[in-house]
């Protein structure tokens, strides 16, 4: 066993493997490195020179222009707010729901589980949901980012699966000591659920950070309720319409183009996530394997 012989097939396999992985890394990283290079490159220079991996004419003006834009500033505030509040609220509510459903003695365990599982497969769809939110005065309202999505049957099921793996004896012994269900949730179950809570918090935070459709659908009329991704999307749409032309160029002598400002804004929205996710890896890997699949 210890002595391995390598035939020619193994060597070819090894070479193909290395080649594949190198191509894979280049294809994955190129668009991001390229965006980064463009964001630090002079806008006019980007048009005349092809920028690939490193900036040709280094400048930080693109970033200054992004920070100076009212839309991005408002968007950043709202995005941070919805990410923090939305994640906290969603986590607490989903945890309580999962806890209630996973209690063996809960009187409506079966029917209440079914009530939530159904929501995974049947939903009103875009238009009826829109009408409902309008009637609830959630349109033109910051709360539409946080409240409607707070409970998700899928996230609840991931937490429930984890809670089901905690031995019942812990709950029983606490009950003998006189602890109520809330006390058990707060001081016994929740501390044990930290890994799955981290997983769900990550899923929800990424969702909130990247969301834009609700801003367009419900809060289009209110610029002060915009989010970062929606601002990016608006810029992208303008870029699609004026494709090929260099119209946005003449900005009073400055050399900031829509392309360069978009690159800077893209990097700004990417950075927080890219710095956080490598440190949370073990949580989402375990979370995915306990909870089944998450798209």
């Amino acid at each position: 066993m210890k002595i391995k012989k390598y035939g020619p097939g193994d060597i070819i396999f090894e070479i193909c493997l290395i080649l594949f992985m190198v191509i894979f890394l280049v294809v994955t990283l190129y668009p991001i490195v390229n965006t980064l290079a463009i964001s630090f490159n002079d806008g006019f220079d980007t048009i005349t020179h092809r920028i690939h991996f490193i900036p040709h004419m280094f400048t930080t003006d693109n970033y200054k222009a992004v920070f100076a834009k009212e839309g991005y500033r408002m968007g950043a505030v709202n995005t941070v707010l919805r990410t923090v509040l939305g994640t906290l609220i969603s986590l607490v509510v989903n945890a309580i729901l999962a806890y209630v459903i996973s209690r063996k003695r809960f009187l409506f365990k079966k029917s209440f589980s079914l009530f939530w599982v159904i929501t995974m497969y049947v939903n009103g769809g875009l238009i009826p949901t829109y009408i409902t939110f309008q009637k609830l005065h959630l349109t033109n309202n910051f709360l539409v980012y946080i409240i409607p999505g707070a409970v998700s049957a899928f996230n609840m099921l991931v937490i429930r699966n984890y809670m089901n793996g905690i031995p019942d004896s812990l709950e029983e012994s606490a009950q003998i000591d006189g602890a109520g269900y809330f006390k058990i949730f707060y001081s016994i179950i929740s501390p044990l659920c930290k890994p799955v809570y981290a997983t769900i918090a990550l899923f929800v935070a990424v969702y909130q950070w990247n969301a834009w459709f609700d801003a367009m659908l419900y809060n289009k009329m209110h610029d002060e309720l915009t989010v970062l991704q929606y601002e990016l999307m608006k810029q992208l749409q303008t870029a699609m319409k004026s494709a090929g032309s260099v119209e946005g160029l003449k900005n009073g002598g400055t050399t900031i183009t829509p392309t360069s400002i978009r690159a800077a804004a893209t990097i700004c929205t990417m950075v927080p996530i890219l710095f956080v996710y490598p440190f949370l890896q073990r949580y989402f890997v375990t979370g995915l394997t306990i909870g089944g699949v998450k798209e």
Partner: protein
């Protein structure tokens, strides 16, 4: 004599009494479930009641109750609409292509990454591989648009290396769009989708590989004849779960990159619903299209569940 016999059932507390006693012990569970029930009804069940608008000529100003009932007229209008038919076909085709690519690439990537023996390199590649999953679809759409632009890297490559003499306008040719969407999905999700397979691979019994070594199997043979077949149950379950998602073929790519030239192949159901329901204020038609989508999705889920039952794999619900 019979009067003196004690019926064992009388010793047990009455069912109702037992229920009340138990209820008294779990006020936290009951109160929080009641609140969550109200929440669920408002945000998940009330919108489903909105389905009635599909059978009405719904006018927001008039309301549900007073709007005129039209039966299936809206559905008839829907099925006579050529754009709707195209949108349904596009959604289904893109969904199926995405599904196939999703599985093939994720499994292939997991198998290959598993063969990388340097632990450091393996960790590094895996960390990079799921980075795109965390980027928003808006950013990915922008990336797709930029690399495929007339001055983008793909055209540069085609002109300099493959000898094309003219830049291809990828967003003006109908034949390309579905594959662009498929490629974007592969770029974004392959690493993420592979996580679950890599986890499953670690659970494979190492004895199998040792036995194969004894028989002189090459690394490719071990991958093909041991690792891949061991993943079969995982693949089946994930496939069946994802069949229900086929009609969710993405949104941003089609919504932002779709233009008038290629709308025959780029328009999907969600964009159709948005166009008619929100922009043209035909709420009833939009709802009807939404119901159609939901019903097909539900049929697909049931089909997946039924197949899982037949083949003996774990059921989904």
């Amino acid at each position: 004599m019979a009067t003196n016999t004690i019926n064992p059932e009388d010793l047990q507390p009455h069912k109702k009494v037992k229920f009340l006693a138990e209820a008294k012990r779990q006020p936290f569970l009951l109160i929080s479930s009641a609140l969550l029930l109200i929440y669920g009804i408002i945000f998940y069940y009330v919108p489903v009641l909105g389905w009635v608008t599909a059978f009405q000529d719904y006018k927001p100003a008039v309301g549900f109750i007073k709007s005129k009932w039209v039966g299936f007229a809206k559905f008839q209008k829907l099925f006579e609409n050529k754009t709707f038919f195209l949108a349904f076909r596009n959604t289904l085709c893109m969904g199926v292509i995405n599904l196939v690519f999703h599985f093939v690439t994720a499994i292939a990537f997991a198998l290959l990454l598993n063969e990388v023996r340097l632990i450091f390199a393996k960790k590094f590649i895996q960390t990079i591989s799921y980075m795109p999953h965390f980027l928003s679809w808006i950013i990915v759409t922008a990336i797709v648009r930029d690399i495929l632009a007339s001055d983008g890297i793909v055209n540069e490559f085609l002109m300099n290396v493959c000898g094309n003499d003219k830049a291809i306008d990828f967003f003006a040719v109908k034949g390309y769009f579905w594959w662009i969407v498929a490629f974007a999905n592969v770029w974004k999700e392959t690493g993420w989708n592979a996580i679950i397979y890599l986890a499953a691979i670690t659970a494979i019994d190492p004895c199998l590989y040792e036995a194969a070594d004894m028989d002189g199997a090459t690394r490719f043979q071990k991958m093909w004849y041991i690792t891949l077949p061991s993943l079969r149950p995982t693949i089946m379950i994930l496939l069946l779960i994802n069949i229900g998602n086929v009609l969710n073929a993405g949104f941003e790519l089609q919504y932002i990159l779709g233009n008038d030239v290629i709308s025959d192949v780029s328009k999907i159901l969600d964009v159709f619903i948005l166009d008619w329901g929100i922009s043209q204020f035909d709420f009833s038609l939009g709802t009807a299209a939404g119901i159609f989508k939901s019903v097909i999705a539900l049929i697909l889920v049931c089909l997946g569940n039924w197949t899982a039952k037949k083949t003996g794999d774990e059921r989904l619900f």
